[in-house]
Amino acid sequence: MSATPDSTSPAIELVGIEKAYGQAPAVRHLDLTIAQGEFFSLLGPSGCGKTTTLRMMAGFEFPDAGSIRLDGHDVTEVPAHRRQVNLVFQKYELFPHMTVRRNVGYGLKVRRVPRAEIDDRVDEMLETVGVGAFADRRADQLSGGQQQRVALARALVNRPRALLLDEPLSALDVKLRKRMQLELKSIQERLGTTFVYVTHDQEEALLMSDRIGIMNDGRLLQVGTPREIYGTPADPFVADFVGELNAFEVEVRKVGGRVSGVVDGSPVDVPSSASTGKRWRIAVRPERMEVGPAGRKDALHGRVTELNYLGHTLQYSVETAVGELVVRAGAGDVEREPGSAVSIWWAADAVIDLGEATP
């Protein structure tokens, strides 16, 4: 199969994908379009169907219904070895009996690329990912970070229409992971290759992605830029899964001609969709909450139970009538000692609507 690059088509399109293992649905009616050159992340908890979705793109799994298009060509039934995408495996899966060079050249050799061209492309790619010095080591003699880079090179050297990455950084320690995140992003930008990146690490997804798709229980809940996902989650699950959240219930009433949520006797802003006489669930992110001296009007009242310094921010735990809330403030703010009474408030646009509370 040799699809001609077609930059007018999306890189990958999934239409009405259904996939079940026996009776257990893994992916339910999934539609997704990934643009050329995009860094797209599939984010969700383990078992949400993100890896299954990725493996269907790679050709290791086949959907029960729906179709998959790559550069506008239907590849739904095309097996992995004839699909022009490459996968970076979670455990790298390098071939331990081969040198780094032979590992990276494997795909080109299988596709019968001329020897000289293989050598050039392999060398170039090894330099790109920064493991040129280890070219003649055996794959099993490399550190985790080096293996990661070789795995990346082994996939990218084939110039895939899209690079699929299955939690590629999860085996690395935190420091290395942070560095690789930035490197991956920069490599992607340099090569302009479409990346589809599966992760359960929301921070990673928010940091690297152009767009993110949030999955849970086999469904794609929301697709958007990191800002959209974080700021205006379309779904309680998304809101809860991405970033930290203070969620609580309020009673919706008209207070002074405005529809407000009443908490602890104080009116707070509620979404416009909230209707009076109902109980509503709302949420506010810790960094959108403000904390100040006790006694402020139209605010929640509570007492600081804990104060933590997180480098550039202060993080309070505040006991309130709606439960314990987490509030973050800039390090320059006045510190509120544990035990002191405080007021907590937030701007109207900070409220995330979680819908009517179920009794």
């Binding site: 790679a58 290791f60 097996p79 992995a80 070895h81 004839r82 490459n86 996968l87 495996f89 455990k91 899966e93 390098l94 071939f95 331990p96 009996h97 494997y106 795909g107 299988v110 596709r111 082994r154 996939a155 084939n158």
Partner: protein, 281 residues
């Protein structure tokens, strides 16, 4: 000696004693015998090379050795190939059922050698199950020579007997090659078979070699199978060795033949290991 060396030595002691007493010592005695002669049922401990001259130069024994090596090589090669694919299937393709399939391998070792050899006896032969079935279905009109007692019957039966011996090392070796590595190869453009050949085979090659060697050695020393399933001209060297140690009452010649077999196997298999090691690199 450092304390941990002493511990290691103590741990090795039972196995060392076992091997030297039950394997090493008789082997040495066997070697000693091969330089003796017999006279009137007594061993004459006068050094002679006559037995080796007979073992190495007699056309009769050369025929037996060549036949033995041929039969064993074919059997071991078929076993290595079949065992590789069986191990491949239970490790990767039918991974979910691998416990059961592995159990089948072990089950096939039950029932003992004699029961199975007699089962094969009823299959092969002029009126064996194989020929009878083919004739009653009209596929053949006359009994096939191939399905009578003979080399083919010996090989088929020995494949059956020794297949587990081949599967175990290959299966064990394959456990070090994750299904992910096969997927990686496929992802890079190899077909399933290509991945089996380029990735699984080299990684499991040590196991395949061990399987070949195990089964080669085991079958080269066979004598019961050729006796019961062979025709009148398909006896192996093991039959002659058994004869010399039995009714022939020429233990020195039997010992010389046995030592010769050991040496020939050691040389051939040593060469095989060398070739394989070079090839893997």
């Amino acid at each position: 000696m450092k304390p941990n060396r002493i511990v290691a030595a103590l741990q090795l002691a039972p196995a060392s004693v076992y091997y030297s007493a039950l394997f090493g010592a008789p082997l040495l005695v066997l070697v000693a015998y091969s330089f003796y002669t017999t006279e009137n049922f007594d061993f004459v401990p006068e050094f002679t090379l006559d037995n080796y001259v007979t073992a190495w130069t007699s056309e009769v024994y050369r025929t037996y050795f060549i036949r033995t090596l041929r039969i064993s090589a074919i059997t071991a090669a078929v076993i290595a190939v079949v065992a590789f694919f069986y191990s491949y299937v239970i490790t990767y393709t039918l991974r979910a059922h691998r416990s059961l399939l592995y159990f089948f391998v072990l089950v096939s070792m039950f029932g003992g050698y004699l029961v199975r050899i007699y089962a094969w006896r009823s299959i092969f032969g002029t009126e064996g199950i194989a020929n009878s079935a083919l004739m009653s279905t009209g596929i053949i009109a006359e009994p096939l020579d191939l399905l009578r007692n003979g080399e083919f019957a010996i090989i088929i039966a020995m494949i059956n007997f020794y297949l587990p011996l081949g599967i175990l090392p290959i299966y064990a070796a394959m456990q070090n090659v994750g299904p992910g590595q096969i997927e990686a190869a496929q992802d890079l453009g190899s077909s399933r078979l290509g991945a089996a050949g380029k990735i699984v085979l080299p990684l499991a090659l040590r196991g395949v070699t061990v399987a070949f060697v195990f089964t080669f050695i085991a079958t080269a020393a066979e004598w019961l199978t050729p006796q019961l399933l062979g025709g009148t001209e398909d006896q192996m060297i093991g039959n002659r060795i058994a004869y010399q140690f039995g009714a022939g009452f020429d233990w020195p010649l039997g010992a010389a033949l046995a030592v010769t077999l050991v040496v020939v196997l050691a040389v051939l298999l040593g060469a095989l290991f060398t070739v394989v090691r070079r090839w893997v690199r």
